[in-house]
Structure formats: C-alpha cells, structure tokens
C-alpha cells in the first residue's frame, strides 16, 4: 500500500490525465463531476497547461477539437445533460479521426433528470450519440483505481486508433474516495504527426482537418476505412473481468458501480450454495461479446444488473444470440440496487429458489 493515496474518483481522473501528458482541459461546471474541473483549474496553470472554463459544453468540446487537431493530448469532462450538448463536437472529432478523452460522470435522466448516479447513457455512449456512422471506445471504471488507470489507457487508445475515447463513469465512482496508486507521470509528447495542423513552416503541403466530403464515393470510402479500424478494435481491445466464473451455472453481467454491488450479491449467493459468477465488461464498446458467448456454452442463464431501465441487456442478448434466458435487475433515476435486491434476482434466475 506504500504509494497509495486517498482520492475522489473525479480527482483521480484529473491527476492521471496530467500524468498521461494531457496539458489541455476544457469544461463547464455540472454536478457530479465538477471536481475534475476544479482539480485542473488548480494544477494546469502550475505546469504550463491550459485550464479553460468554456461558455458551454458545446464550446468546450470544440476547443477539444481544436487542440486535438494540433496533435496534442486533450480532454473534457461533463455529466449526462452536458454530454448530450457535446454530441455535435464528438461526431466532428470522430469524423475527422482525431484522438481525445471525453469523461461522462453519469447522472439520472432524461432531461435535466437528477444528480444521483446512473448508467442510463449506455446507449448514447456505445451506439453513437451524435449523427453519422461512428464509434467511441467506451471504458467503464468501477473503482477509483480504475478511474486513474483507465484515464491513462484512454489517452493511449485514442492515440493508437485516432478516435475519441469515452470514460463512462457515474456519480458514485466520481464522488467516492478509495486508496489509489497513481500511474507514473509521462511527459507530454510533441512528435510531429502527418495529419496535425501545426503550421506548414513552408516545408510541406497544408494539412486539412476536416469531416466534410461532398463527393459521396469519397465519404463512403472514409466510412469503410474507419470501420476497418473499428473491426480491429473489436478483435483486439475488448476487456472484461471474470469473477467466480470457473464453475458458474449462472452469470451476472454488470459494469461500473452496478458490478461493485453485484459482487456482494454474488458472494452472498455463493454462501447459499448457488453457483453464480459475474462477467464485468470493462470496455462497453467494444463489448466483450466473445466472453459472454463462451459463458453461454456452460451457464443456464444471465442477469443484467443496470442503473437504467435496461440498456446493456440488449448487448448481452445479442452476445449470447438469445441462446440462454437473460433477465434484468434494474434501478433508475439515481437509485442503486442493494446487494439484497440483486440477490433476490439471482435466486429468481436460479429457479424460483426461496430461502
């Protein structure tokens, strides 16, 4: 535990981003993620970085677009209603093949919704959100340690695949403190990229960062090229955690805070003699479909536990090709199921077993 410090999840994101060499942050205040901005406001001026409180989430994401176009690491963070406002910019960034990090510390919706934790932006994060054919790599941390680790990972993945990466957290993970070992600090990279706008210095043809293609054949080609990259990501980057799956007859599927709660329920179910395990998607896109399909060969049923009316369950059903029943344990609007509620659903799944 030598190097562990106690930090809020939101602060861990900010510190880890700085350590990943990010020197540009643009945001707009919204609960429950404002600590990210506050941390950046404090630190960035001291390390020669940019913290800018933008006039809106729309402006913030477009500032991100501007920095990303220059080839430097950049991020923004917000919570659900603010992320909706950013969708235009995200679509442009994806359409221009630029890397960046977008953090969504989710709260209940729709509309102004509430400020308590939620996972109801799953569809928005994993199925597009903005207009056009595009994907985001979506990482789902379930601890403060993962907030730090996945922030660093997100920048690396964004740079590797030239696309925006979203860290999809929720109010609980953002607000909670846990001991965290921060990733090693890396210096910002200033390597010249063959697509970035940095000034021609009269030595090369001009670079154009753009998502406009008025010739449909060209635009189609761009889309196909992008989806070849996406296919590679689906093959190589799906991540998940298995918990007590070795001999499991039933499988809970949950991510983020829902996985933390479900872990308690799975442990309790094991004490009752129920052979239950859990698969926790760590990447929501790409979704760890292969792992679930593999589990479907041996387990009798799945239970999707979500802080939404049931969004990830659609991907679970697709992953197992409806070969096994998939049931749902859900809370919405900022409510979180208790381990007992999840346990009750596990018992129901295991055949109407009553204590």
């Amino acid at each position: 535990m030598g190097n562990k410090v106690l930090m809020k999840g939101n602060e861990a994101i900010a510190e880890s981003a700085i350590r990943a060499g990010c020197r540009h942050y643009f945001g707009y205040p919204i609960t429950p993620q404002t600590e990210v901005a506050a941390y950046m406001a404090k630190r960035m001026p001291k390390i020669g970085g940019t913290f800018l409180q933008a006039e809106s989430e729309i402006a913030a994401i477009n500032m991100v677009y501007g920095v990303a176009a220059t080839g430097r690491r950049v991020m923004t963070s917000s919570s659900s209603p603010g992320i909706s406002l950013k969708q235009e910019g995200i679509s442009y960034i994806a359409g221009s093949d630029l890397p960046c990090l977008i953090v969504n510390v989710q709260r209940g919706g729709p509309g102004l919704g509430g400020i308590q934790p939620s996972q109801s932006d799953y569809f928005q994060a994993t199925k597009g959100g903005g207009h056009g054919d595009y994907r985001l790599i979506v990482l789902a941390p379930s601890s403060v340690q993962e907030m730090a680790d996945m922030t660093a990972l997100a920048f690396d993945l964004a740079d590797k695949y030239l696309m925006p990466v979203m860290l999809l957290a929720d109010g609980t993970i953002g607000q909670m403190m846990e001991p965290v070992e921060l990733p090693e600090a890396r210096e910002p990279q200033f390597t010249e990229k063959d697509w970035a706008v940095t000034g021609t210095k009269m030595r090369r043809a001009h670079h154009i960062v753009n998502s406009l293609y008025l010739v449909p054949e060209e635009l189609e080609k761009k889309n196909f090229e992008r989806f070849e990259r996406y296919a590679r990501i689906e093959r190589e980057e799906a991540r998940f955690e298995s918990f007590m799956m070795e001999d499991a007859e039933y499988c809970v599927v949950a991510f983020g805070i829902a996985a933390r709660v479900s872990k308690n329920a799975v442990t309790a179910a094991r004490r009752e003699g129920l052979k239950v395990g859990m698969i926790r998607p760590v990447t929501l896109w790409p979704f760890p479909s292969a792992a679930l399909a593999e589990a479907a060969k041996t387990v009798k049923g799945f239970l999707s536990v979500e802080l939404s009316m049931g969004q990830m369950i659609e991907d679970v059903k697709l992953a197992v090709s409806c070969s096994r029943p998939v049931s749902l344990c859900r809370r919405a609007g900022g409510m979180i199921p208790s381990p007992d509620e999840v346990l009750t659903k596990i018992r129901e799944m295991a055949g109407g077993y009553e204590r």
């Binding site: 006039e55 950049v74 442009y92 960062v209």
Partner: protein
C-alpha cells in the same frame, strides 16, 4: 512593370464562389495580409459552415473545418495548444452572429489572441438565400418573403457595435469591399488584425460588409450599389474599438 500575381497564401484551387461574390476579394485580402506579414508557415485557419465552408481548399496554410458557428472555440483550442502560431477564423453572418454568437462573444471577452474575419452579406448564401441575423429590416429573403418584419423577426445584429461594448477585445472594426477605396482600407485593417495577434495584443475582429448578388437577386453592379445605399448606412464603417490606440492617445 507591375505583375498581378496570386498571393502565395492561396492555393491553385479554383474558387467555387458565384460571379460577383466578394468572398474572392476577401480571401485575397486575407492571403495578402498573411503574405505581407510573412506568417504563412505558422498560420492556421479555421473554416466555417456557410459559403466559405471550403475555404480550407483555398488557403495554403494549415486549415481546420469547424462545425457551424464553433470556429472561435476551435480556434481557441488551437491557439492554446500552439500559442506561437497565427490562428484565424473566416466566418459568415449566420455562422458567427446566429448559431455561433456565444462562441463569438466569449472568445472576444476572453480577448483570445486570434483574428476573426467576419463576412456580413446579410443573407444565408449556401442554403439558398434565407434571412440572416444581419438581414436588413424589410429585406426580402426566402424566409422573409414579405420583407424582414422586425415585429416578428427582430432587428439585425450589429456585431461590431455589440462586441465593442465588451471590455475584453483588442480590436473591432468594420470595412467594406464595394469599391477600390474601401478595398484598400479593408486590406490595411485586415493586416492590422493579424499584426495585433503577432504582437500578442488579443482578439481582433474585422467585419467585412459584403454582397451576395445571387441570393439578393441583383446584378453584381447593383449589389455593390445596394451595399453603398442600404448596407453601409445601417452598418457604418470604421474602427469601433482599438485598445492600443486608446492607450497611445492617453499618452499623447
């Protein structure tokens, strides 16, 4: 012998602009300013959504295409990342004064060290002639077919006057390109707007009163007359704010 040459800061791509459109002149003035100041190698332009959407093909410097109205935010990001580069936006009236008003005002009030070229031709050109935030009272457009009714559509936005009321911006001016004298002055003012950035002075915006013969339904000649007779009286030309000049006067 005087040889008329294309500025180095323009590419060889042919403009797609309509006959008589003044975008060509304004592109040229911007490129001449970049050439004159020797900043082509470090200039980065941000193109708008509107008639100038393909400006990224015409300027020879590095270019970024922004979403509608967001150019000042994109330029802010670029400038914060590369403070030694010279960053400019080129925007129309719908882009800058309607959908992008928040980005415009806030970049100005932050005194973001960028140069903004604002082309005001009182109409949405690219989409085929709809009412703009700067369309004149009574002006007939596709979406104000009976003339702009100020009781319904409100009044035109006077961008230069509006922004010059802010403490933030360094330099706000309005020019026109309807005759040789005005073009010469526009050239001088645009160059100053870039020079200010080089000197680190801050946000410099030049509103260029322009014409759109196609969507105004006029010959190019008549369009220029309309600029003189209708536009300029409503949008008076001049320097509305020049903080550094103010300081020099104070000293004097």
């Amino acid at each position: 012998m005087t040889v008329f040459e294309k500025p180095k800061s323009l590419t060889d791509a042919e403009f797609h602009y309509c006959p008589g459109c003044t975008h060509g002149i304004i592109h040229r003035l911007v490129a001449e300013a970049i050439d004159a100041l020797g900043i082509e190698g470090r200039a980065i332009g941000v193109a708008p959504v509107g008639c100038a959407v393909m400006a990224y093909n015409y300027f020879a410097c590095d270019m970024v295409e922004a979403a509608h109205g967001r150019a000042p935010a994109v330029a802010t990001g670029i400038k914060r990342s590369l403070p030694e580069n010279i960053v400019f936006t080129y925007q129309g009236d719908g882009d800058l004064a309607s959908i992008g008003m928040a980005e415009t005002v806030h970049a100005a009030t932050r005194n973001e060290n960028i140069t903004v070229i604002f082309v005001n031709n009182a109409i949405y050109g690219m989409t085929g002639g709809q009412m703009a935030p700067t369309s004149l009272p009574g002006q007939v457009t596709q979406t104000s077919p009976y003339g702009r009714d100020v009781s319904v559509a409100g009044y035109p936005v006077k961008v230069a006057e509006l922004l010059s009321s802010l403490d933030g911006p360094e330099f706000i001016a309005r020019v026109a390109v309807n005759n040789v004298k005005n073009v010469r002055n526009a050239k001088k003012i645009i160059e100053k707007a870039f020079q200010n950035q080089i000197e680190g002075k801050g946000f410099s915006l030049v509103e260029v009163v322009s014409s759109c013969p196609t969507n105004w339904g006029m010959t190019p000649d008549n369009a220029l007359k309309w600029v003189e007779e209708k536009m300029i009286p409503y949008y008076p030309l001049g320097v509305f704010k020049d903080r550094s000049a103010g300081k020099e006067e104070d000293k004097a």
